[in-house]
Amino acid sequence: MPSVISITKLAKHYQVPEREAGLKAAAMGLIKRRYKTVKAVDEISFEIQPGEVVGFLGPNGAGKTTTLKMLSGLLHPTSGSTSVLGFEPAKRSHDFLRQITLVMGNRNQLSWDLPALDSFDLQRAIYSIPMDEFKRTRDEFIELLELKELVQKPIRNLSLGERMKMEIVGALLHKPKILFLDEPTLGLDVTMQKRIRTFVAEYNKRYDATVLLTSHYMADVEALCKRVVVIHHGKLLFDGDLSALVEKFSAFKTVGFTINSASVDWSQYGEVISTDGARMVLRVPKEKTSAITTRLLNDLAVEDLTVEAAPIEDVIESVFAVKEEAVE
């Protein structure tokens, strides 16, 4: 199947004025400005197939939002090429824009003082959605997200999570084929995150939509994305299955066991993560795992020994800790 999103050596450089702190430097800046080129996105390439849900990960400032903006036609790339549904996004053709949506967790587009229903009508006008189709989709989404009681209240009276749900409904009324979701669960509580996650999964299934999602909550990524693309310092660091990411980047495993004698110098085995009565959990370097477990079993009277991969949060942390020079 041909890919729906395809980017090749995509780059975006910004010219940022640069000066020292202080009044004198500020005054000098009026006369002569020094500019520094910041490579927000530095020649990244990847392809996404129809119907895929891909997690787009990276620390703050890695270039995720810049990439999403280039894919949705808001920014012109400095170099490289992008193709989304066969369109060049930067041309912002209406046929292209009708098939995508961009949701940003920290911004809202619904009218603050009005009930969501009124704002939905506006979306219908913007996207020229036929009335019966519009009503069907709207009611379907309202039901899926359990918003029936809330659609007639002004947006300003809703909680952050309820507002986000409304935003998502508004952003999907035209049933886009491609969803760019930038931190859709930002600041929401666990239940609300879960609800939104389920909805995205359901939408993906019902309409065979392609989703590119950024999130700082690994639970979102684990629940929704089989595949992840990781960028860091504007460069592509990893592209593949989530499980392979764990395999590649986790430097540690956790070893748990039960032991009765307490007076042991654990530092020779690994780093103690937790002790709960007789239950100990150690963190050990991945390559030494088998050696250490063997020693534990031989030296001490340990029981119920388990070895687990490091939690995904830890893996991501070690990925993000990679220094700029080390990226390729």
Binding site: A90, S111, L114
Partner: protein, 261 residues
Amino acid sequence: MHGLRLAFNYLRIGVLNEFQYRANFYIQILQTFIALATGLIGLNLVFSQTDQLGGWSKPELLAVMGVFITMGGVIRSAIQPNMERLMEEIREGKLDFALTKPADAQLLVSVREFRFWQTVDVITGMVVMGVALAQMNWLISGWSALGFFTAIAMGAVMIYCFWLMITTTAFWFVRVHEIANLFEGLYAAGRWPIDIYPNWLRIGLTFLVPVAFAVTVPAEALTGRLTFQTWIGAFVLTIVLFTIARTIWKIGLRSYSGASA
């Protein structure tokens, strides 16, 4: 067609929005009343000293005032709120939502806001014009009426273009908030027909800030002064200004998206 429907939908939302704030309606009525009263007092003061001002009689100047109030209402209800929102969104980087919509971006940013209560001014101005015409014994020809309606429409478009050009500069000079105050100051000059001003100011109010075309020219039509040359001039200038404004907007948008970088 799509554009018209879109504008209508935003208008509807604007009206719905304003209905949530009933207090604004009363405040607006109060403001309009005060502005009208001071205007009338000023006019009476002038005409207690003389019975002509730059060739305009008292009822004629009342007509100018009517146009001034109506046009002010149009600007504050439909033009200024949109441009101020645009300015703010450029500054805060919130324009993204408008730009991901399948609609002409300039159209979209120009119709999103509508301050319904400001239409109190539009109506009040019309009443004042009606009174002025009555004092002139309704001596207005069909051609003059046509000239008036077209002139007021062109005037509104010119003011819109002026605002859009200034607002678009926000793409480069992020802070342009003071222009609202600047504009109000200059627009206030439209209270009087521009022939009474010295030459340099008259040129400025005609071509730099098109207050002359927005207020004086429609008032000329009402008072039977409008010449065909002036009307053609207004027509040409409207097209020229619109073309320039749209070009600057497009360039600004390119710079916003980094197309030129």
